[in-house]
């Protein structure tokens, strides 16, 4: 436990988007993100759409090559490895994605879907692979495994398809799983079931999870730590309960207050909201990226100086001028 599994430092991913007929412009999807995941822990990445969560996850799995910064996996620098050099990494770092409908090949049976990664990485004989497929299906509570293995994705409910996605990620016994919005397309009444399943498998196999979600409430219950992203940056990170109960960054606080709890008196009052919308990733605001929407912005500072991410309480970091570095 507590061994560093994944460490990204000052990670940048800029996409080139077309502008007009000949021009192009850099979309700064990720602009200097640093974080780490320990083995056996879940780090949740929360933030609104466009904040860079998916880009972070794809870069962490080296599905895209970052523009700058570094990615270390179990101490090894994988930032610039070529596809051929990534073989061992790909076996140990797997992904579960948002859409259980499109992330599975409709023409392949469950058995074929689960066998594919084993074949790619040359694992076992066919007989051994069949055993592993049945074990993986048992792990995700799809029974009887012999029968489930013969199904095709269209014959399965959304929840079952996502279980197949999890089984596919697990079958190589990875050390690290990226789960990008794994339950956002699943019925509310079944979401917790899938998340408990992932938690249990994590405990059984000691996997480190990067759990990407826009649902900060599930992050509270299913992760150890939370990192909050805004406009391509991490603005706050810390122990899950602490980030939600005692948020440090004004954006985190606003995000939490925007979410209604089931309470009939909600309708009798206006919800406190932050004005405006997130900034364009091609021209993020100078200084603190949140300053145009921030109710506490300090004139003369916030629109000029980019606040660094600093540790304010043990393990709890934020990038905000309201929380300056304690002076020695």
């Amino acid at each position: 436990m507590n061994a560093e599994l994944l460490r990204v430092e000052d990670l940048k991913v800029y996409y080139q988007a077309r502008k007009g007929l000949i021009g192009s412009v850099a979309v700064k999807a990720l602009d200097g993100v640093s974080l780490e995941v320990q083995s056996g822990e879940t780090l949740a990445i929360v933030g609104e759409s466009g904040s860079g969560k998916t880009t972070l996850g794809r870069a962490a799995l080296r599905l895209i090559r970052p523009t700058g910064g570094s990615i270390h996996f179990r101490g090894e620098d994988v930032t610039n490895l070529s596809d051929s050099g990534l073989g061992a990494f790909r076996r140990r770092a797997q992904g579960v994605f948002q859409d259980p409908y499109s992330s599975l090949d409709g023409f392949m049976s469950v058995a074929q879907i689960l066998e594919e990664p084993l074949v790619i990485h040359g694992v076992g004989t066919h007989g051994e692979r069949v055993e592993m497929i049945h074990d993986a299906l048992r792990d995700v509570r799809m029974s009887p495994p012999e029968e489930m293995a013969t199904k095709f994705p269209h014959m399965l409910s959304g929840g079952l398809r996502q279980r197949v996605g999890i089984a596919r990620a697990l079958i190589l016994r990875p050390d690290f799983i990226l789960a990008d919005e794994p339950v956002s397309m699943i019925d509310a009444s079944s979401r917790a079931e899938i998340l408990y399943l992932m938690l249990e498998l994590q405990r059984t196999y000691g996997i480190g999870f990067l759990y990407i979600t826009h649902d900060i409430a599930t992050a509270r219950h299913f992760s150890d730590r939370i990192a909050v992203m805004y406009a391509g940056r991490v603005v706050e990170s810390g122990p899950a309960g602490q980030v939600i109960d005692e948020p440090l960054h004004p954006y985190t606080e606003a995000l939490i207050r925007a979410i209604p709890e089931p309470d009939a008196s909600n309708r009798l009052r206006q919800r406190p909201v932050i004005p405006g919308e997130p900034p364009s990733p091609t021209e993020p605001p100078a200084g603190c990226r949140f300053h145009p929407r921030c109710p506490f912005a300090i004139a003369g500072t916030c629109e000029v100086v980019d606040p660094p991410l600093i540790e304010v309480k043990p393990g709890h970091m934020t990038a905000c001028h309201l929380h300056p570095e304690p002076e020695e």
């Binding site: 959304g158 917790a192 826009h214 599930t218 209604p260 309708r267």
Partner: protein, 320 residues
């Protein structure tokens, strides 16, 4: 007299197999100036219910029937033509699920909002423009947005345009089908505040369709819970949230991860049924922890749990 009184509304869809019983005998009332939240999981029939109310039926619709009294008038007795001229958009309008993506990409949004005024009401251009601008004020869109094209607008702005569009002929009742599901929470909160203002200041009634019961509590006076094409519980928001009577509502509330509490969320084992052949008796019985003798055999009636609060469960029906 209630603004809306729906009795035994039914809408099925023909398929190659048995028909899909998407709306299967739904009854409820809505008072003037109130908002009713219709809460249910994906596929439970929420959109179909709103299409049935709007009489916008897909070509494979079958078994469309029941009674819909709107402002004292039985609108189910009207011909399609009468319904289109007298009711749809004028008395009852709607914001469709995912509608922000159905704006015409080559027309300025202000023009799209003005269209029904000119076509249906024969308004002149200048008059229509005035009305559009005042609607933009109402939904808090800067007036200059009227001259922009859809791709120049954010998701939140497009959804405000859709709300302006639903209000253009001054309906008393607007059905909102998942109006904020595609939006981020901070934009969703802005939208909910806008809906609260429209309800309070203009006295508009809403049917607010959502899969998120907590979000329903942000606007609605009453909450109806749908499961497998039926309304299984309806009551004041307060009762539905704090003293739910139907086991499904109870378990659904328990499945919400709470931000403010450490109590972990639970889940309902199993999945909602296929509506071509829903379970016999109570449609929730295969997933219900309290299932007992009558449940798999007979369909429970909607029974009163308290004053103004009903649930469709044998636990209630047999107490009486």
């Amino acid at each position: 007299m209630s603004l809306l009184e729906v009795t035994d509304l039914t809408l099925h869809y023909a398929t190659r197999e048995d028909p899909v019983r998407a709306v299967d005998g739904v009854s409820f009332r809505l008072e003037r100036g109130q908002a009713l939240g219709v809460v249910g999981e994906s596929g439970s029939g929420k959109t179909s219910l709103s299409l049935a109310l709007m009489r916008l039926l897909p070509s494979n619709a079958t078994g469309y029937g029941g009674s819909v009294m709107l402002d004292g008038q039985e609108v189910m007795a009207l011909s399609d033509d009468e319904f289109r001229r007298q009711v749809r958009w004028r008395k009852l309008s709607m914001v469709f699920q995912g509608a922000q993506n159905s704006l015409n990409p080559v027309l300025r949004v202000g023009h799209q909002v003005a269209e029904p005024l000119m076509l249906e009401n024969g308004a002149r251009k200048a008059q229509a423009r005035e009305r559009v601008l005042s609607l933009f004020d109402l939904v808090r869109l800067p007036r200059e947005v009227a001259d922009r094209y859809p791709h120049e607008l954010s998701g939140g702005m497009k959804q405000r345009v859709m709300i302006a569009m639903s209000l253009v002929l001054d309906p008393a009742l607007v059905v909102l089908d998942e109006p904020t599901s595609a939006l981020d929470v901070s934009i969703q909160a802005q939208m909910m505040n806008l809906l609260k203002d429209l309800k309070r200041d203009l006295g508009i009634s809403f049917i607010f369709i959502t899969h998120d019961i907590a979000l329903a509590s942000d606007l609605c006076d009453r909450i109806a819970v749908v499961y497998a094409g039926q309304m299984v519980e309806i009551g004041s928001a307060d009762d539905a949230l704090t003293q739910p009577s139907h086991p499904y509502t109870q378990l659904l509330l328990g499945s919400i991860p709470r931000l403010a509490a450490d109590e972990p969320p639970q889940f309902i084992p199993g999945a909602p049924p296929d509506l071509t052949g829903p379970p016999s008796g109570c449609r929730f019985h295969p997933r219900c922890p309290y299932v007992f003798e009558p449940c798999d055999r007979d369909d429970p009636p909607l029974a009163a749990a308290r004053e103004g609060h009903e649930a469709r469960c044998w636990l209630l029906a047999t107490e009486k």
